[in-house]
Homo-oligomer: 407 residues x 2
């Protein structure tokens, strides 16, 4: 029997306890021995919940109990999760987590401690919820030079974008609806501004390059500026607007970005709708692969955490090699990243001379018209770098919208 | 440095050598040491190919060389692959393979020998080509009671079905085209009759249930009887026809089948087109996940084989637990599997009395009409078991087509 402790009895923590209770027989068989939840740490009380019997308020009880071999950290946030995790690893306990903030910030250091102590720091649930992606990246996609990893990494924003596309609704209205359904938080900033997706693409890119990608270095744009008109143009182009976290290798260097992107019908992520997540990877010999599933939610996320617990139990005194060094990776300068852009601007009094001006600045572009949008000039550019585009567009006065295009 | 030997220098074998040569630096880093191809076994000569220098014709050279720690078996077929694999494992060498026939037939036994010798028998490439599915099933989806695994497991047939749907072409014409493009073999029976998909769903189901699922027990139907008219009806129903290998748990027992199925726009596999494969899994806590990628091809398949080699090198003297016992699993009797059916029959002289007859036998059904198809009565039944359906349809004379429906 292996004793574990769960830090935090919120959504994911209570899910972990529930999954172990519901699927205990299967889980124990896969782990090769019984997994027993000995403690749950939370500052709150849960009167009437059976968890009350194993509830503790003092982390030291867990830390000092030599019977605890695996700690599940599902508190979220950097502190005190960071301190608790470090202490657990140093005390010879493996740690499994869903905490993307902590993994993005201190993952490399915590992995190094785990390796040094021959224990494990596992974080399958930190990206893509229930979708197996961390373990496949680490132990399956090992024969490839991975040149792109792009994901729909945030279910809240994907739900909002899907609703905006399907119903022609405004961002604010859909956000309110998502909040009332529990798909978006009362303070939705981390989701809608792309911060959550940013941490996740930083984690994925770190694993791809094997070094520390700081999420602060990832150029990040959210979805709050998207309007009904943007979706009308997307429809006219046969495209969908998705919030993508993406890292691409250009001339040997990775460039990372989080931003809304118009993708076409041929893109592997095109059919990832609603609260679902999808992660697309391109390798030089593997070609394209895609992983799809529920990127959030109590039980899917808990399923991923518990799969890590099983792995930790199968490797109690042995480190699973994860290549993610603390050395900082120098992402390519965002301004140098090449791409194509969809642009909407107010139609000038003389549309023909406006188009001539656009042609002078951007060369050949594809003009687009959308049903129900009047008084605008909209077009898709050829390939230019981000920096080049910013410079060229600055000369135009009435730009209403810029969305990157990948089709 | 770890020395390996590759058995068979065909498409996959030459791909393995190429992948190791191309991505050697990355692969060695992931493996923690250098992987060196010491021998390639093939009965043929390859004059002018650098492989000639390491080519051997006698398997005993490999078997008796204590330096060889990992054997890559990419010969295909049951013999001599079975004998070679068994001897390698008994000699303390791990084996990595893409050989679905052998894995489906003797996987459980070979895994048992590997476990007993503390070596590994790995077969990621046997299902889904480059798509990571075996390792995720074995080490990621460990917290779930998996209740369904359904895949588009054969790229050749998926290419043919996609072309038939897109171009309204006949099976024979598309098959010829696929053969000329190298997507289908000269003798296409294993693909188009569903035998290949059958072995793959048997392997996947064995891993889900942890016991031996004999592929001979899986009810298998191919795609050779599908006609242009079937695709016209599918279009009218907003559905696609896909060759699915599927195992579903009903009342605690798994039922397996390979057959063409009409799936709707909401099905996660709906956008898996052309030569791509996709595998959909439903778990009781994970909900839905899907894995997508190239199910065949020299380099994608070789990528999966080499990822197994990396894993074997990381676990040289240690068995990776794979739960697949030799005990035979009793699949549910196919006749008891519930489902819905699309049926086409010649229109009777008196269509109304024909519909009355259909109503008497099947209860309420959904009638379908398709553009460009005349003189037929076509409908979709409610849910009945396979056995029940066979009994009821037997009373009708002029049945032209029966396709299962999942939407």
């Amino acid at each position: 029997m292996v004793n574990i402790a769960v830090l935090g009895y919120g959504t994911v923590g209570s899910g972990v306890v529930e999954v172990i209770r519901t699927n205990g027989e299967i889980i124990n068989k896969k782990a090769g021995q019984e997994i027993h939840v000995k403690y749950v740490l939370d500052l709150r009380e849960f009167e009437g919940d059976p968890v009350q019997e194993i509830l503790v308020h003092d982390y030291n009880i867990i830390l000092e109990d030599p019977e605890i071999e695996v700690v599940v950290e599902v508190m979220g946030g950097v502190e005190p999760a960071y301190t608790f995790t470090k202490k657990a690893l140093l005390a010879g306990k493996s740690v499994c987590t869903s905490n993307k903030e902590l993994v993005a910030k201190h993952g490399a250091e915590l992995l190094a401690i785990a390796r040094q102590k021959q224990r494990n720091y596992l974080f399958e649930a930190s990206v893509g919820g229930g979708i197996p992606i961390i373990r496949p990246l680490n132990s399956s996609l090992t024969a490839d030079d991975i040149t792109e990893i792009t994901g729909i990494l945030n279910g809240t924003t994907n739900y909002i974008l899907t609703e905006m596309a399907d119903k022609g609704a405004a961002f604010e209205d859909v956000l309110k609806d998502a909040q009332s359904k529990g798909y978006a938080e009362r303070n939705p900033e981390a989701d809608v501004e792309g911060y959550d997706a940013c941490r996740k693409i930083a984690i994925l890119t770190s694993l791809v390059v094997g070094e520390q990608v700081d999420y602060e270095d990832v150029h990040t744009e959210g979805i709050t500026k998207l309007t009904e008109a943007d979706f009308k143009y997307a429809k006219a182009l046969g495209a969908s607007i998705k919030l993508l976290g993406t890292s691409r290798k250009v001339d040997g260097t990775f460039y990372s970005m989080v931003a809304p992107v118009m993708i076409g019908q041929e893109h592997p992520l095109i059919s990832v709708n609603g609260v679902f997540n999808g992660i697309f990877i391109h390798g030089n010999v593997l070609d394209d692969v895609m992983f799809y599933g529920r990127g959030a939610g109590k039980l899917p996320t808990a399923s991923a955490v518990v799969s890590d617990v099983v792995d930790a139990v199968k490797h109690l005194n042995e480190n699973i090699l994860t290549i993610w060094e603390q050395k900082k990776y120098a992402l390519g300068t965002y301004e140098k990243l090449p791409g194509r852009f969809f642009v909407r601007m107010a139609q000038a009094a003389d549309p023909e001379s406006q188009k001539q001006e656009i042609g002078k600045v951007f060369g050949e572009v594809r003009y687009v018209e959308a049903d129900g949008v009047e008084g605008e000039t909209a077009f898709v550019t050829g390939t230019v770098t981000e920096g080049d585009f910013s410079g060229r567009i600055a000369g135009f006065g009435q730009v209403r919208s810029v969305i990157r295009v990948d089709f």
